[in-house]
């Protein structure tokens, strides 16, 4: 398998007003989904299918990625109430669901547990702090994380993607990258500390 690293960072920074507008748009289109408005489903698909399919083709073969892509949007059509616009944007919701379902497919042969509930219940955004301001802060934080990821060496970045996007164990990563498990652990450890440093959350110990 060829593992192509991301070279083009698509940075974006959502101002609070933009975030609020996006949230309102998401809420409006999902309200139309609740009314079984097929054009709303078309709009959501046109806006987000590329992102969803992009993630899934990174994880799965093309045929399975297409199946899961359809499944993700169909889930939204069937259960629009599962999306809570106060917790996350619609794209984030769909991407998390796509990854969850993609991992389920990958894990079908690994006999491990599901990372997320079907409806993306464990969406990686806290629901105790709702509101568009927090959404914008969270967006900016993720932007800093993306910047930090691109500061890593290709080997570190690949290790992170394999672990946290594709759900590979350290042993699997070691085998695929042909390095000792200890090296994988070191790379992941270094990468996470780098992220913490960029976010201003580093602890003194790792700098020693």
């Amino acid at each position: 398998m060829t593992w192509t690293l991301m070279a083009d960072a698509r940075m974006f920074s959502a101002a609070p007003t933009e975030s609020r507008a996006a949230g309102a748009d998401d809420a409006a289109v999902v309200a139309r989904l609740r009314q079984r408005d097929e054009t709303a489903l078309s709009e959501v698909y046109d806006a987000h299918a590329g992102a969803v399919y992009g993630v899934l083709t990174r994880m799965l073969d093309v045929s399975t990625a297409q199946e899961v892509t359809q499944d993700v949007f169909l889930r939204l059509w069937e259960k629009p109430g599962a999306f809570d616009p106060t917790r996350a944007g619609l794209r984030a919701f769909l991407l998390v669901m796509a990854r969850s379902r993609g991992l389920d497919r990958l894990r079908a042969t690994r006999a491990t547990t599901s990372l997320y509930a079907d409806d993306g219940a464990e969406l990686p955004l806290p629901d105790a702090r709702p509101g568009p301001v927090h959404g914008a802060e969270s967006t900016q934080r993720r932007e800093r994380i993306r910047t930090a990821l691109h500061e890593l060496s290709p080997a570190h970045r690949e290790s992170v993607e394999r672990a946290f996007l594709r759900g590979q164990t350290r042993e699997e990563i070691a085998q695929d990258m042909d390095v000792p498990v200890g090296t994988v652990k070191s790379r992941l450890n270094y990468a996470l500390k780098h992220l913490k440093r960029v976010l201003g959350e580093e602890v003194g110990a790792w700098l020693d």
Binding site: L41, G54, T69, L74, R142
Partner: protein, 410 residues
């Protein structure tokens, strides 16, 4: 002592953060001790938040890839077929538009539009499935009681009610000796019914619902094969295998054909347009053939078989599954009966189509809601006509007999 406590706490943090990373990659659950620690430790909570944000950052950072254009139309088609969120019971039937048709049929049931019948039957419930049981016919109804009736000599001679948690939704029936097996899609089960005297002798749960049935008997006894909605194939009460999966797909409006013929078990998976050829004993897949369209019913022919594609084609296949002839038919026929060189297809949208397999001639008649069709030993066809009753057609689609549905009185 303070130093010792700090060291202990640091070790605990290290362990919990490692568990959090494993959880993020493999989904493994945290230990109770780790959960307790996480609830009170700001450093580990920050690590947890970092992992969650990293997850989303990676997702958002992936390059966009345009899906194939066909995926959009497939999604919208599937959405149209998906059940309404509050619909109950779940009904797996094709096409979804017939949900409206069912309402219409309920209205029509109050009228008497049938031509006067030669055979006067007592209390025939609104028929959904008809099975030829040698001499008698067995008719299953999706009425409130899920009534199963036996018809002999043009009249109902016995009936029995079923006891599903949901109102029954019978989709198919097959005969094995003196018993008939009826698929109740609303209750995810198959009922084994003895015809004389009429009684339900056994219920077979089929998780996720039944998409297709076929029966066979040999020296070792009888077997009924099923295909589940999600893609399992097996024998009732016996082993099963998975030939396809449709995880997360809306599984409403699904049906498939199952046929045991010449030592091969043929099963359609209409979602992919495939025909699977299985070993009937081991259930091992011998071959997969891509037919295209949406094949939903199968029927044997000398030296081959017929496959009905609900998108509007009838296919003649050889025993390897290769298409040797194809006829286009109007509408969305989903049931198939064959007598000699005559195939009769029923489409609940309101038509019955006859295909002469020799000449290729295709003719149609309009009926109310033909729910099912079965070939009878005398060369005729019995049609379960929703809202009307049972209609017998000859090979030219001329009505030779009718048994009126008797609406319930209140």
């Amino acid at each position: 002592m303070a130093g010792l406590n700090d060291n202990t706490h640091d070790r605990a943090c290290q362990d919990v953060q490692e568990q959090l990373e494993v959880q993020a990659t493999t989904g493994a659950a945290l230990s109770p001790a780790a959960r307790a620690h996480l609830a009170t430790c700001p450093a580990c909570q920050a690590h947890h938040a970092l992992l969650r944000d990293l997850d989303l950052a990676l997702l958002e950072d992936m390059p966009h890839v345009a899906p194939p254009p066909s995926l959009r139309s497939q999604l919208l088609d599937a959405a149209r077929r998906a059940p309404l969120p509050l619909a109950a019971p779940r009904r797996r039937w094709w096409p979804a538009a017939l949900g409206a048709a069912a309402v219409i049929s309920g209205v029509l049931a109050l009228g008497t539009f049938l031509t006067p019948s030669r055979s006067v039957a007592a209390a025939l419930p609104d028929p959904a499935v008809v099975v030829s049981a040698g001499g008698p016919l067995v008719v299953a109804s999706n009425d409130h009681a899920g009534t199963i009736s036996v018809i002999r000599d043009g009249r109902v001679t016995a009936s029995v009610h079923t006891d599903g948690a949901q109102t029954a939704w019978f989709t198919e029936g097959v005969r094995l000796g003196g018993h008939v097996f009826l698929a109740d899609a609303a209750n995810d089960r198959v009922l084994e019914v003895q015809t004389d005297p009429l009684k339900i002798v056994r219920t077979y749960p089929v998780p996720d619902g039944v998409a297709g049935l076929t029966a066979s008997s040999d020296a070792s006894g009888g077997r009924v094969y099923f295909k589940s909605v999600r893609g399992q194939v097996g024998t009732l009460g016996g082993a099963h295998v998975t030939i396809a999966t449709a995880p997360g797909m809306p599984l409403a409006d699904v049906m498939d054909g199952v046929l045991l013929l010449n030592g091969t078990l043929y099963v359609t998976h209409h979602l992919t347009g495939e025909l699977c050829l299985l070993d009937p004993d081991t259930l091992a897949t011998r071959a997969r053939v891509h037919l295209g369209g949406m094949p939903v019913a199968l029927s044997p022919l000398p030296g081959g078989l017929l496959a009905l594609d609900v998108t509007g084609h009838l296919l003649k296949l050889d025993l390897s599954g290769r298409v040797v002839q194809r006829w286009a038919v109007a509408g969305h026929p989903d049931k198939l009966g064959v007598n000699g060189d005559t195939a009769v297809l029923s489409d609940r949208g309101g038509t019955v189509t006859r295909v002469n397999l020799t000449s290729g001639q295709v003719t149609q008649v309009t009926l109310t809601h033909p729910m099912d069709v079965v070939s009878l030993p005398d060369g005729t066809f019995a049609v379960a006509e929703g809202g009307r009753g049972l209609r017998v057609l000859d090979g030219q689609l001329q009505t030779t007999d009718t048994i009126e549905h008797t609406p319930p009185t209140h």
